[in-house]
Structures are given as C-alpha cells and as structure tokens.
C-alpha cells in the first residue's frame, strides 16, 4: 500500500500508530519483535523472582521458608518459565524479528501474518501456563518419567503449554529461514551477511528440526497420563530412559538455540565498539553452522549415569568434545578483533566483553562434564547448576542485555542513561559471579541439585550464593528501571550513534514503516571499519 517511490521525504516511524489493536494485529516485524521482547522480559523477571525465593529458602539448610513440595514446584516453574517462555523464544523471537529484515535489506519477513500468528501461539501458551499454576507441577523442567507420569500435580497443562510454545518456535524458525534465503537485498551475498544473520539462520534450523521432537515427547507423556500408554512405563513394557533420550534429543539442540543468537550479538557489538572488522568472519559464520550440526549428535551426554551402555557413552563423550572446538574458535576470534582497535567501553560493549569472560568459564566447565569419569561425580550436583547458569546467564542473558543496550536507540528512538547502565552492568556482573561461582565448589563437594534441604556443611557456600543473588537482582532491577525510564524521558536518538556500518543503522531511529525508502543495493560486507587498503596481520 505504501508507495515508496513517492513518499521519499515523509518519514513515519513504525511506532507512530497507537492503540492496543494496532499492536495485537500488527504484521510489522519490528512491532512483533517488541511484543516478544516485552513478553519474554516479563517472564524473565517472574522466573527470576522465583529464583530469588528459592535462594532465600536455601539460606539455611532446613526447610523453614517453604515446604519441600513448594520448593519443588518453585524450581519446576523457574526452569520451565525460563527455558520455554524466556530463553527459547529469547533473542531469536525478539531481536531476530527486529533485525533480520533490516540487516538483510528487506521490508519485512517472508510471512508477516505467520509471524503474528507465532506470537498469538505464544500468548496462548501463556494462557495455558496460567491455568497450569492452579495445581503446579513438581517434576522439574525436565519432566522425567516415571515421576512425571505419576505425580498428582498438573503436569498435563504445563506440558501442553510448552507444546504450544514449541509450535510458536517452529513457525518463527521457518519464517526466518525462508526470509534469509529469499529476501536478501540485491548484492547481499551470503558472505556479506552480518554474523547475527548467520547465527539466526543456524538457530532457525535448530528450531525447525529439533522442536517437533519435544512436541511428540510431551504428547506421549500426556498420553501416558491420560490414556495409560506405556512407552515410558516399565510395568507395561516401556522404558523410562526412552523419555530421557527423546527429551534430550530436542533439549540439547535447544541450548544452542539459546546461545547461538547471543554469540551473533557479540559478533555485532565488538566490531562496532572497537572499530575493527570482525576477525575471522568465515570461521565464525561456519562455526555457527558446525555447532548447530554437531548439537544434534551429543544429547546423551546428559545421561551418562542413566544406565546407557558404555559404547553409547563413549561415542557421546567424544562428540561432546568435538562441539567445543567451533565454540572455542569463536572466542579466540572475538578476542583477536580487539587487537589494535579503538575501543569504547559502552555498556553494550561491557556486556559483550562480560559474555566472553563468563561464557569461557561456562564452556570450560562443560569440558569437565564431557569427560566421562569426571561427569559421573559431577552429574546432578550443583556443578551442573553452575555450568548451566554460566552459559545461560553469563552467555545468553549477557548477550540479551548487550543486545538491548546496543540496539535500544535504533529500536525505540531514545537514549538511556549510560552511566546508570554501566553501574547496573557492574552489579549484574559481580552479583552473577558471587551467586554461581561458589556453586562449582558445592558441586565438587558433592552437594546434589534440586535439594530443598541440605546438609549443614554446605551452608556457608549456599548462603554466599544467596547474597550474590541479591546483588544480581539489584543490578537487574536498576538496569530495568533505567531502560524503561529512557523510553519516556530519554534523549532522542540519532540515526547512528556508534558509527556502525550495518544496514539497520542506515535508516532513521526508529525505523520507518517498511524499513527502507528504497531497497538498498549492497556492495560490501558490514565490517569495513578502517578500510583503506587490505592488510592481513
């Protein structure tokens, strides 16, 4: 409808039109991105508060704040909400939606109506979750059978809500793959794509192929609870470990759905704030695909003590070590990008550097877990809890916060208070480490996970971890308030405050309705910082 040839001088921000219906029925990828951003942030805060409650209970060994059953419900909800309502949609649904068309020079995604449809599915999932809270499940977010098939709590509604969310995730992934293949601007060859697009592409493939498997797994669990089918029930000839195989076949690739977009964000932030091209573009691009591919082959490293055969365990351990290699390559390349750069420690850059620091710890502790004999001791202890939070918070959430701080001016047309943002970053960084680093030691000492009460000898480290959670919580609070305040009273944002060469920064802040007055013709990659003559170091 909008005739782009005529209205060259009339800029209408995509945020212009008001009214709740204009949001709920939008097909504009930038608005849909905001819908997701608001929703996942909301659930992040809810699940985060649940975590604070859990850690408060864990200040003392005894079950004196909540009963053991309530504690079990809390960690189930914390995990389920964080994984399925925050991290899996995560950067992909929010920033992927906002950035992909802009970065590739397209007016929108391939299927805009499907896009809002995906969001409505997400909303449906949250509605189901609400009902699931009436008799909340106490199975853990992993829903292992036979416990999940027999517990008296409402497993069906929670898993069905997750199923619906999975559908949302699949359709988003489908949309992005087609968009990236079919809607790149003229001249935007694959090797001129921003690395966030490569990351989004790898992630979308995982969403597409892996998610249906958790769909069928949860369907089978629901069928076991309702129809009495016995695939996972030994009394009926089934096998409880089969559930674990099905579940992790999805859930391992899922963790890469969580981290790869964050890695893409880091690949965008670092060149901009060091004014250097990304070091090793092809290595980073292909390593995203490599990680995605290998991620399908390592699922049983979550099951080394589950009774799998030694042969299987050996193969999965070997493949697990393999997946570490492309990951390490990225870390080295990001670090090398800083060499001889002109580095500005903007809050987004702080989050990106924090990511490298913390994700390195998370990744290295993964090596402990890939080694068979070490994993036997560490599995199902707090070492796992620490490892997973280092990669998910130290990795994904750092990337998420970095993305928000980086693209905030572009998305909302405002600037936030940079000094407060730095303070918040510092509290988040310190708080996070104080919360989770002691947990590595707790795990090595043998403290199991999912314990509502624990032996006294673990109390000093457990309470230290709780104090850390308060610092982390405070940091997140300050960051959130700062960002929301900026929306209302922040300075108007310039088009390109950080001097980025990527396409999304070549349009106004916020972008206009169909992104580009004229579809650009691309002649170079977006990392041409300092380009005068080509120099290979």
């Amino acid at each position: 409808m909008a005739n782009n040839a005529v209205a060259a001088n009339v800029y209408v921000s995509f945020l212009e039109k008001k009214g709740i219906l204009s949001w709920l029925y939008t097909t504009d990828h930038k608005r849909i991105g905001i819908l997701y951003l608001a929703s996942i942030s909301f659930f992040f805060l809810i699940a985060g508060m649940i975590a604070l409650l859990m850690r408060f209970e864990l200040l003392t060994p005894a079950s004196d704040f909540v009963s053991p059953h309530t504690y079990n419900v809390l960690f189930t909800l914390h995990g389920s909400i964080m994984v399925f309502f925050f991290v899996v949609p995560g950067l992909a649904a929010s920033f992927g939606n906002f950035l992909i068309p802009l970065m590739i020079g397209a007016p929108d995604v391939a299927f805009p109506k499907l896009n809002i449809g995906s969001y409505w599915l997400y909303l449906l999932g949250t509605l189901i979750l609400l009902f699931a809270l009436l008799q909340p499940a106490d199975t853990g977010w992993t829903f292992y059978t036979p416990y999940s098939a027999n517990t008296d709590t409402d497993v069906i509604l929670l898993t069905f809500g997750v199923f619906v969310l999975g559908f949302s995730s699949i359709l988003t992934g489908l949309n992005f793959i087609v968009t990236i293949h079919k809607m790149r601007a003229p001249g935007m060859t694959w090797h001129r794509l921003p690395l966030f697009i490569w990351a989004s592409y790898a992630t979308a493939v995982l969403q597409l192929l892996a998610t249906p498997v958790v769909g069928i797994t949860l369907l089978l669990l629901i069928a076991e609870r309702t129809l009495g089918i016995g695939f996972f029930d030994p009394a009926k000839g089934g096998d409880p470990v089969l559930f674990q195989n099905f579940f992790w076949f999805y859930s391992h690739p899922a963790v890469y759905i969580m981290i790869i977009p964050a890695m893409g964000v880091i690949s965008e932030i670092i060149p901009v704030f060091s004014r250097k091209p990304i070091f090793g573009y092809k290595a980073i691009a292909y390593s995203s695909l490599g990680i995605a591919f290998i991620s399908f082959l390592v699922w049983a490293h979550h099951m080394f003590t589950s009774g799998i055969s030694e042969v299987a365990a050996t193969i999965f351990s070997f493949l697990t070590f393999l997946v570490a290699i492309p990951t390490a390559i990225k870390v080295f390349n990001w670090t090398a990008t800083l060499y001889k750069g002109s580095i500005e420690l903007h809050s987004a850059m702080l989050y990106a550097l924090g990511f490298i620091f913390l994700f390195t710890i998370g990744g290295l502790t993964g090596v402990f877990l890939g080694a068979l004999a070490a994993d036997i001791h560490l599995h199902d202890t707090y070492f796992i809890v620490a490892h997973m939070h280092y990669v998910m918070i130290g990795g994904t959430v750092m990337g998420f916060f970095g993305a928000i701080h980086f693209w905030y001016p572009k998305w909302f047309g405002k600037m936030f208070n940079e000094a407060v943002a730095k303070l918040a970053w510092f509290l988040v960084f310190v708080g996070f480490n104080v919360t989770f680093f002691p947990q590595f030691f707790l795990g090595v000492q043998g403290m199991p996970r999912r314990y509502a009460t624990y032996p006294e000898e673990f109390q000093s480290l457990m309470s230290l971890s709780t104090y850390g959670s308060w610092i982390l919580g405070l940091g997140v609070l300050i960051m959130t308030v700062n960002l929301i305040k900026g929306l209302f009273s922040g300075e108007k944002a310039p088009q390109n405050p950080y001097g980025s060469l990527s396409l999304e920064w070549q349009v106004p802040s916020p972008p206009p309705l169909e992104n580009f007055v004229e579809i650009p013709h691309v002649t170079d990659w977006p990392y041409g910082y300092g380009k005068k003559k080509e120099v290979d170091a």
Binding site: V12, D108, G237
Partner: protein, 201 residues
Amino acid sequence: MEQGNTEHSHGLHMDPAVEYSSSKFGMWLFLGTEIMLFGGLFAAYAIFRAKYPEMFLEQHQELNREMGAINTCILIFSSLTMAIAVSAIQKGKKNLSAILILITIICGLGFGVVKYFEYAAKFAHHIYPDTSIFFSLYFMMTGLHMLHVFIGLVVLFVIMVLTWKGKFNETYSTPVEVGGLYWHLVDLIWIYLFPLLYLIG
C-alpha cells in the same frame, strides 16, 4: 497502515515470483517438521519392535487389513484428485479445481469414517491404547495421523471455497499448491504407517 492487509503478502508489493518460491520453500520446511514429529513415533516403533518382535507379530493380526487397505486406496486416490486439482487451477480452471478438491475432502472424510469403524471394533473387543505397547503405538500413530487428516480437511475446505470464489487463477495458485503438498505428506505418512502396522510378518 503498517498492517499490510490489502494484498495477500504485505503492504509493500512483493515480487510474485519471490512470493511463490518462498511459499513453496516454507511448506517444504514445514513438511520437514512433520517428518521430525512423526519420526519420534517411528523411532519408538523401531525400538519396541526390536524389543518385542513376537508381540508385534501376534497383535497386529487383530488389525483389520481390509479396512487398512481401503483407507490406503482412498488416500492415494485423494492425492491423485488433489494433484489434478492443482494442475487444473494452474490452467485457470477454477470450477474443475474446486470440484476435485471437494472430492479430495470427501475421500478424507471417508478415511475418517473407516477409521471410526476400525477404532469402534477395537474398543468392542476391549482393545484400548493402554492394552499393550503395540496397541499404544497403533493408536498413537494412527491417531496423530488422523488429527493431521482433519487439519488437512479444514485447510482444504477453506482453499476449496476460495477457489470456487475465484481467488486463484493461472497466475496465482500458490495456496492450492501448498495445500496440495501438505495433503501429499499426510498420504505419504499413511503409506509408511500401513505396512508397518498392518502388514508385518
């Protein structure tokens, strides 16, 4: 303004060739996800059949091969009518196309009727999803397939009405083609299910 609802694609006019290839590509990707979904059940089938070969050999004899074979023929025939429907609309023959889609839908309903009788017979013999692993697989696999048939029927019904109303022609028939692709997959899955459940041994 930005809702882009005037055209079938978006406010901004999308190149029809790009839109066509995008839609086909998108549907193929979606079919890939369906294969992964059913793949889980096929994997369960393989695992349990390897574990309990006699159970499968013995219990599958309770299944009604004739009804299964009739359903197989119905679906294959319906795939044919759907393919011709696509070909018809690509030649601009909207009425023929709509009729053929109607026949496809009737076949799908027929499939459902046969399935109804099949399930009813099982229940009458006190065979339920929880009777054994084999029957759990039987009901889950055919049940999930049946659900996809129903979804397909709804989709085809909408497409048929739009075709009848003249929304599609020789230059634009993407939804019919894409709907056809989905229906072929539903048929294909049954073609694997049928021998694995009804014809072993």
